[in-house]
Amino acid sequence: MAFFLSVLLSGISVGGQYALIAIGYTMVYGILRLINFAHGDVFMVAGLMLIYLSAAIPLYLAIPLMILLTVLLGFVIERAAYKPLRSAPRMSVMISAIGVSYLLQNTATYITGGQPMSYPSIPVLSDMVQVGPATTSMVTVVTPILVLVLVILLVQLINRTKIGMAMRAVAKDFETSQLMGIKINSVISATFIIGSFLAAIGSLLYFSNYTYITPSAGAMPGLKAFVAAVFGGIGSIPGAVIGAFIIGICENFVKVLPFEGASNFVDAFTFALLIVILAVKPTGLFGEKATDKV
């Protein structure tokens, strides 16, 4: 029972961290119809930045500064790499995203010298707590609560504010919303800022479970978060969150399956799930059915 609970708890925690990344994917996809391959690497860079910042300044300053810089990074990436391609075919934008991901990973390798960098232990998050019969770290408990709070705030933002309304309009129809006087560039920038902000918080929670970061550390969580977004129905924020929790929990149970080498199949399981969903219900759990105009 204690074992089951601890697996479930770590599943929920990982799921929450994926959820924070998945929101970034799903919002960008909803508006630009672009798989932002660089999002996972932004997440990794956020982790690296905290390592370097925390070496120079105290944590209570380093964390806000890291979040600020990550947001700035997301903003700059959109302006530099995606905005010039706004009228280009979708494939070009996706290739640009892959190029950005390549650039971020290579730059990270250069700066760190390819060495795994050890992540600082964050006081409250790394403490151990007792939940029922299971012992776990504080981050496991904090993650789902934080995710819920952030998601509720985000949904309020999207449903109640002017910029949220603009986002919904742009996601619905790019060109018409432009005709209606919506400044799509600022809406898209806002989307990237929100996505990067959540990725920065996600990286804080995710990497505090790990002792070190490598330049490729962002790729896998990034892809999984994307799978979560597809699972929930791309473009839908609650869908992405629920998808991420399901994937996080399933993944942790796959890891402890009683056969030799089960942990090798964690990533494979996620992608197998993706292929099954795409084959059975391509719109995901909450996705809207898109109709093609001829």
């Binding site: 119809r33 672009l34 798989i35 530099a80 790499a81 010039p84 391609l85 280009a88 979708r90 494939m91 070009s92 996706m94 290739i95 640009s96 892959i98 190029g99 950005v100 991901s101 390549y102 650039l103 990973q105 290579n106 730059t107 390798t109 250069y110 700066i111 010298g113 390819g114 490729s216 790729a219 892809l223 994307f226 799978v227 597809v230 030799e260 080498g261 090798n264 199949f265 990533d267 494979a268 996620t270 992608f271 197998a272 993706l274 292929i275 795409l278 084959a279 391509p282 001829v294």
Partner: protein, 394 residues
């Protein structure tokens, strides 16, 4: 009129290939460049990668299916080739962790039992064994492509990309599984199979004729020629029609699922052969290098060369490989051209410069080197362009 034009371009291609092959043999054996020189690594890797790049271009550039599974199909090819061609007497030492291999034959020895294992007979059985190994590598990749194509080819552009990417990751996990150890050697590498340097002709312990660069060139030229023939056939025109407009293509009577599947399987077939050749190039087969990063690398090569141009992919590959392996090496070792700056030019800087170049190409030269034109066409238009300039100047 059109027929003669086609024939003459085919002839030109043939002559170009023969000249190229002769040049490679001459370079290798003339002694002008020592056989351990980096040039040969570049040439071999370039030949292997250009086949993979062309196969990816067939799918992404000519059929408009955005697939990111190339590394997965390469992995299938590499393993198929390696498993089937490790000589029986070294199998125990290669698979020592699993108490020997589950497969007790190797292709070149099967042929060896017919043609003999030494001298000319040995050479024939080596060539036939490797050829059969390569073809089987392609077939296995194509078979798996068929299986995965059934569910995923119905998907739209970016969903297809992510599904094929996922499929490649699944393959990587399966091939590293301990339970399959007697076949795939688990996470360890398979080695000791015939590689490119096995084709060097030796006499009395000394190499008399180097063929280790010639062989990958020959293989790549044959495969690319087949792909070019395919693209110029009615199938190729159907592929291009699908790329340009699926709905219009369907209305013209092109069977979409069938042609997409055909393109996907053929592309994977050649990616499988490319994977087997990559295993031959790197002297080992293991799941580690066939990551999504490898697919991205090849995709970026295709973009640099020009999406939808075969000659562009080949030129792009050789440029990319030469820069990555040779010309920009100095950026990693402290000295580039005549600038010495060990502080800046340290390990990893080359790749940073490289990715910046790639981003510049992606953002500002979206058509790549060749756009969607082939070399002769490009040369002609270049000539016309220059002529016009001259006229204007006069």
């Amino acid at each position: 009129m059109k027929q003669t034009k086609k024939n003459s371009s085919a002839l030109a291609g043939l002559i170009l290939s023969v000249v190229l092959l002769a040049l490679v043999i001459f370079l290798e054996n003339s002694g002008l460049v020592p056989p351990t020189h980096i040039l040969f690594t570049v040439l071999k890797k370039g030949a292997v990668y250009s086949l993979v790049a062309v196969s990816m271009n067939l799918l992404n550039g000519f059929t408009g299916l955005f697939s990111l599974g190339q590394a997965g199909f390469m992995l299938l090819g590499a393993y198929t080739y390696a498993i089937l061609t490790v000589p029986t007497d070294v199998r125990d030492s290669v698979y020592y962790l699993y108490g020997g291999s589950a497969i007790h034959f190797s292709l070149q020895e099967l042929f060896g039992s017919i043609f003999g294992n030494s001298g000319v007979g040995g050479a024939i059985s080596l060539v036939l064994g490797v050829l059969l190994g390569l073809i089987l590598a392609g077939c296995v990749a194509a078979f798996f492509a068929y299986l995965i194509g059934l569910p995923v080819l119905r998907l739209k552009s970016d969903y297809l990309a992510i599904a094929t990417l996922g499929f490649a990751e699944i393959l990587r996990a399966v091939f590293q599984w301990q339970k399959l150890g007697p076949i795939t050697n688990g996470a360890n590498m398979i080695k000791s199979f015939p590689t490119f340097s096995s084709f060097n002709i030796k006499a009395g312990g000394k190499v008399v004729l180097y063929l280790s660069t010639f062989v990958p060139f020959l293989l790549t030229i044959i495969c690319v020629a087949i792909i070019v023939l395919l693209i110029n056939s009615s199938y190729g025109r159907a592929f291009k029609a699908i790329r340009d407009d699926e709905i219009a293509a369907e209305a013209m009577g092109i069977n979409l699922p069938r042609h997409k599947m055909l393109s996907f399987c053929i592309s994977s077939f050649f990616a499988g052969i490319g994977g087997a050749m990559f295993a031959m190039f790197s002297n080992n087969a293991q799941a580690m290098p066939y990551t999504s990063a490898m697919t991205y690398e090849i995709l970026l090569i295709v973009v640099i060369g020009g999406i939808g141009s075969i000659s562009g992919s080949i030129i792009g590959t050789f440029l990319y490989v030469a820069c990555a392996e040779w010309w920009l090496r100095g950026l990693d070792n402290g000295q580039f051209l005549f600038i010495k700056a060990p502080g800046v030019f340290r390990s990893g800087f080359r790749m940073v410069v490289f990715s910046v170049i790639i981003m510049v190409v992606v953002l500002f030269f979206r058509k790549g080197i060749m756009g969607n034109q082939e070399l002769p066409q490009k040369l002609r238009s270049l000539k016309a362009h220059l002529g016009k300039k001259k006229e204007a100047a006069e």
